[in-house]
Amino acid sequence: MIALAATQLTIGTRLRGVDAAFAPGRITAICGPNGAGKSTLLAALAGLLPPDSGQVLLSGEDVTTMHPRSRARAIGYLPQDGEVAWDVAVRSLVALGRMPHGDTAAEPVERTIATLDLETLAGRPISKLSGGEKARALLARVLAGEPQWLLADEPFAALDIGHQLTLLRHLRRIADEGVGVVMVLHDLGLAMNHADEVIVLDKGRLAASGSPAEALSAPIIEQVWGVTATWIGEPSGRALVTR
């Protein structure tokens, strides 16, 4: 089994000795207040930030010393900023995802376009897409590379609730196909209702990890975010009420 794990990961003062393990086929949410080190952890898992100490292992191999192209084939990374410098068409953007494989194979590109319901938009320039469509196109770029791991930094930021749920459905389908999905999430409700595992960071340290109900319990929310809150509703559709 291909596993991704961080051991005693330390990067400046942003991450201080974090241990975390991720399982394929599961959706893991990384939560925490602003400045907790969530994006730093995600970038380090993607092999983009060399740690000061500790390491990130992918199937036992250190991600920072892997060949960049083999690492890129295994780990797809979706940054938060959603930058697309040139106004390329959706199909060209998605085809960029094949770069780690050194090909422009049409089949995975078209399949990914179909999976994310982008067929009617494939020829359209990025600037002519709505925020939700652009987010889907950017996700399709990562998935066209057929990675075993998808690391996404706040993929739902700036998306309305309808587009959030569409994207979540796609992520669940990808996870069901065996891809390990790790994402930074600000919205604790989304993490509680849609993640399989949750990791909570606070000031660069691991504050909690486990099932959403364990890691996002009211005492942990109070301890980490300094907010008194209660979860209400059914187990699969809970909402956080703050006081």
Binding site: P79, V84, G97
Partner: protein, 317 residues
């Protein structure tokens, strides 16, 4: 093969014969005395040199804009062209410019020094911000030293020679300049084409590009070598010819799928065409002295740049 390439090749094939005939004297093989010599020794090398220099500047501009993810980037801004010019100015200053080979050699040494400085300062991290700042500082230093050389020129003749040369022109160039610039420019365009995939990845930002296996240091090394060879050899044989690298990628981009890799070759061809047409035009303008090519292109380029800024401002508003 990208879409604009065949069209540009046809346009060049049409423009080249016209450019060979055009000039203060329109060549008529039946009537013009020494028409064959004018064609073979003056017009042909000059037109080929225009194609070579334009191709280098166009390709360098396309790669530079792709690398910096900025449509306002020009290869002249980043130190290599000003360093090449400084090298050439040094050859005038020391009185070596009379030797046919020493002027381009000095300019190439200047370009090489610019490349080395840029690689030394920015190369270790491969970071774009450091690259830009280092390039701007090198350009500023080279510009200052060039001004110093002009102000302290040993005599009025040297000063006039430097100032005129800096304006950029293809007047009185021969096959020698073609043999210097053509192989270096070809090698430079080859280096720039090597950056294509990396530049495509950079479309999605630095972090995404690195996550896709792009190695920033390697892309930057090919870019510095490519810009150094194309721009350096261009300055070495023709002086400063600005704005080509800025304008051409803009004109070509709408006809490509806008990926930086698909822009390099068409920009080389469009740059070649632009400089060929511009140089032919300055030859036939009815002026007492020939308008310098560098000035002519700046006269077109500066308003174009302003129009670009206004359009971008409207887009941002």
């Amino acid at each position: 093969m990208t879409r604009p390439v065949p069209i540009l090749l046809v346009l060049i094939a049409l423009a080249l014969p016209l450019s060979l005939l055009a000039g203060r004297v329109w060549l008529d093989f039946a009537e013009t005395p020494n028409a064959a010599i004018i064609l073979g020794e003056l017009r042909l090398p000059r037109s080929l040199l225009a194609l070579v220099i334009g191709a280098g500047l166009g390709a360098a501009g396309a790669a530079m804009q792709g690398y910096l993810r900025n449509p306002l980037a020009d290869p002249g801004l980043f130190g290599i062209a000003p360093m090449a010019a400084l090298g050439a100015v040094a050859s005038f200053w020391f009185g070596y410019s009379a030797s046919a080979w020493l002027l381009p050699l000095f300019a190439l040494v200047g370009a090489g020094a610019g490349m080395a400085l840029l690689a030394l300062i920015a190369g270790r991290t491969g970071g774009i911000a450091l690259f830009t700042l280092a390039g701007l500082m090198i350009a500023s230093l080279a510009g200052t030293l060039t001004s110093l050389a002009i102000s302290m020129a040993p005599n009025a003749f040297a000063m006039s020679e430097i100032v005129t040369w800096l304006m950029g022109a293809l007047t009185d160039r021969s096959w020698r300049e073609v043999w210097i610039a053509a192989p270096l420019t070809a090698a430079g365009i080859g280096c720039l084409l090597m950056t294509g995939r990396g530049l495509d990845a950079l479309t999605l930002g630095d972090a995404a590009a690195r996550s896709m296996g792009m190695r920033p240091g390697i892309v930057q090394a090919w870019l510095i070598a490519g810009v150094g060879l194309t721009v350096g050899s261009g300055v070495a044989v023709a002086g400063i010819v600005g704005f080509v690298g800025l304008i051409v990628p803009h004109l070509v981009r709408p006809f490509t799928d806008r990926r930086p890799s698909q822009l390099i070759l068409p920009s080389a061809l469009a740059g070649a065409l632009l400089v060929l047409v511009a140089d032919s035009t300055v030859r036939i303008l009815p002026l007492v002295t020939e308008l310098r090519l560098g000035i002519a292109l700046s006269l077109i380029g500066a308003p174009f740049f302003l129009w670009l800024l206004l359009r971008m401002r409207r887009g941002l508003a």
